[in-house]
Subunit: 260 residues, 2 copies
Amino acid sequence: MANIPDSHPRKASLLSRQRIVEATKDGLLADSAMIAHGRGEAFDYLLGEKTTDSAKLAIKEVAARLIAAKNPVISVNGNTVVLAGKALIRVAAILNCPIEVNIYYRTDERMSKLNSFLENQKELLSQEDNPKGWNGDWSSAVMSVNILGKVGDGRIEGLEGPRSICSAEGIERADVILVPLEDGDRCEALINLGKQVLVVDLNPLSRTAKMATVTIVDEISRAAELLLEYTIKNNQKPTKWNNNDVLNESLEIIASNADI
Amino acid sequence: MANIPDSHPRKASLLSRQRIVEATKDGLLADSAMIAHGRGEAFDYLLGEKTTDSAKLAIKEVAARLIAAKNPVISVNGNTVVLAGKALIRVAAILNCPIEVNIYYRTDERMSKLNSFLENQKELLSQEDNPKGWNGDWSSAVMSVNILGKVGDGRIEGLEGPRSICSAEGIERADVILVPLEDGDRCEALINLGKQVLVVDLNPLSRTAKMATVTIVDEISRAAELLLEYTIKNNQKPTKWNNNDVLNESLEIIASNADI
């Protein structure tokens, strides 16, 4: 990777971009992953490349709902794995919940590469110290995170073809799903099944953002780090959540940044 | 390419995306071309995916300035070639000006591929009928468009390393340069050399957009088609142009689309 000085005001954004470019070369991502990343970059730019106050509230709400869930699952696509895989494994270790690799353009090769990537991350993370503020056996918590998805033995009712494939132990039986960077159709199908769908989406106007139970309008790697912090703190119960409020606040910030 | 129905409201955008994905596979584009395209998609989405009235004025102004120029040149990078190569060859044929391939991450392989791509397009275009409203020998006009760039015998003063390389017959001697999708440093260097820099940039907040002589805030393939139309009409002289006005109008549109 190119050397970006610490002083660069957009260092985090440039590092994320490099990670996506490298992962594409390594065959972890679909063709259009870089385009999706670029779209996200533009929205993040308009949001000021920082986590807004309303996004923080949404992340707290997501932490509370995952903790309160009976069968939570974290569903990840390629970009999420590359940008926030580590942080989400840590979250899953604390929640004692599985991670399901579930990708839009499903191929055996990419499913297998993403699975291996996460298993390798688990090995590395299991050797780290406990996250600050968390007590317990970290190594065994991390190693017991099930990485699902390779076996497509579940179905998402309401979708057709490869898009409907999921894991029976993961998305199919989950009551609460954290699914960053989801597309509109799948979000809608999961909502129609009565599940709580918690998403991360930088475009507050997207169908996913509008349809989800809770929408975090934030960049996934920033959001995942905060989610970890709030999951460890565990000091909030799920609230009666008005998702339109956070969407409107994000839109106001974009509008005010554009209106100079 | 996948078959997108004519009725799809975002067909043009999806076709452009496919072109960029295919061209990346064919080795015509740099790694980050898809990311740049995605950023553009997001801004275009916020602009309503149509050419605004102020963008139309900017395109007319660009046509007038290219026609009035002593030594105009159209400088193209990979994304521009893929998305608007044909239309810009037509414009160059009418203006009787060269096209220079000039890319940020210069490699011999990509320079050669982009050059061949444009030469092939020239062959195809030379067999077409005259563009509507244009009289003359179309075949010879098209075939006499010089594709420059492979020979890097010119320099852009004020830049260092590979970024400073250009064609002596093209950018170096030009008084007026149409350079869609330019980056901020190069735009600044060209302005400092006293040249008129006419750009196409979907982000009205970018350094390039703010620094250029005339900024067309529009998607390049739409803008290039309109530029062709206005170049043929040729019914306007360059005006005293206030570039801030068009930038502010674009920002107002983004703000009003975001503020729903």
